[in-house]
């Protein structure tokens, strides 16, 4: 089993290393959209610092949508997915590892960029740590939900258009608690409640979604 896990992770890592630029695109998108918010408001508007948690969370959410439709597409088109299904190995495990690697390459950089962007919006000091923590807990859930929907829409001609419409309503609670935790911390209140919720949502998503995504993949190849 450990050899299988290693092989799956190694394969994903190699594929990511061979298209490094793809990992930078969500990051670039995030930086640009946050900058656009700054440009859309009055220069140094204090209201911008106040809405920084919402701005950063929404922009991260949208950045994480990029490339989701391609998550399983290559594996389907070249037959790797069939190979995996026929091999008799647990498909849910392979899906979970693929999503984990996807998060490491897209979600983790987004989390790391959040604090500098918060400063850019004029939000200094207090509560930035909570913002990063809320993203670290929340973005894996976004990847899991996104991966499930990507599996659901795999092979559909309009998957790229359909995907955001299906993912965004499902991630509403994550946005509410993630942005809420950051807002509480910004105003000096205790953000523990929503952070615990995010952690619980992560555990729930981790237990349910890889299996459901695997079922969706089997359905897509049927």
């Amino acid at each position: 089993m450990s050899r299988l896990i290693l092989a799956l992770v190694q394969r994903e890592a190699r594929l990511w290393l061979r298209r490094k630029a793809d990992a930078l695109l969500p990051l670039l998108f995030l930086a640009i959209t946050v900058t656009l918010f700054g440009l859309g408001a009055r220069p140094n508007d204090p209201a911008l610092a106040q809405s920084a948690p919402a701005v950063i969370w929404v922009c991260s959410l949208l950045a994480m949508l990029l490339g989701l439709d391609r998550l399983f597409r290559e594996d389907r088109e070249d037959g790797s997915l069939e190979l995996l299904q026929v091999s008799g190995q647990p498909l849910a495990l392979a899906v979970a590892l693929k999503l984990l690697m996807h998060w490491v390459m897209t979600g983790l950089p987004v989390c790391l960029l959040a604090a500098p962007l918060a400063s850019q919006l004029g939000w200094s000091g207090a509560g930035q740590g909570t913002l990063v923590l809320s993203l670290v807990l929340g973005t894996p859930v976004l990847t899991l939900i996104g991966g499930f929907v990507a599996a659901l829409t795999l092979g559909l001609p309009r998957a790229g258009l359909l995907l955001p419409g299906l993912v965004l309503p499902l991630v509403v609670p994550i946005l509410i608690f993630g942005s809420g935790a950051a807002r509480l911390a910004q105003s000096g209140a205790d953000p523990a409640g929503p952070l615990y919720f995010l952690a619980a949502a992560l555990v729930l998503a981790l237990t349910l979604l890889p299996g459901l995504a695997a079922a969706a993949l089997r359905n897509a190849s049927d």
Partner: protein, 194 residues
Amino acid sequence: MEPLLLVQGLAVRRGDRLLLRDLDLRLQPGERLHLRGANGIGKSSLLECLAGLRTAEAGQVVRRAPLHWLGHRHGVNLALSPLENLGYAAALLGAGEAAVLPALEQLGLGRQRHRPCAQLSAGQRRRTALARLLLSRRPLWLLDEPLAGLDAEGIERVGALLDAHLASGGAVLLTSHQPLPGRLGVFLERSLTR
């Protein structure tokens, strides 16, 4: 003798079209079954159904042995080299790392093993996929157009591969528009028609 593959009353649907129905089939060790038929008749869908990739509309498929699958999509990632592709496949199939290099050499890919598959020809990619069959011993082979894109020398090698597999008690079910290479095994041919 126990059949390796037993199919009873199978019906296969693709979209809203019923491709096949009431299909019975058995495959014993040492037998090779060559499926023929016009394009679109349902050969690939039948194979997918036998491999468990597609749900049957009716009937049942019993596989009494682990299988090797080679679909018309070859299952080779183009960004990875033949060596990397096979190393991954070996882990999936539960085969030893040591089997990888001999398998590649047996299909004449020894020199290309480090080049990304995107830089290889269609025939060489097909050979990479075929090398998977040598990684671990699985008695039942389901191959969809294994000869597509191969040159005369490649077809010879596949013939030798099939002979060795059948001689050791395996069974093969394949589709091909070309005449089959190799000499061994009980030849069965079946043409699918509407």
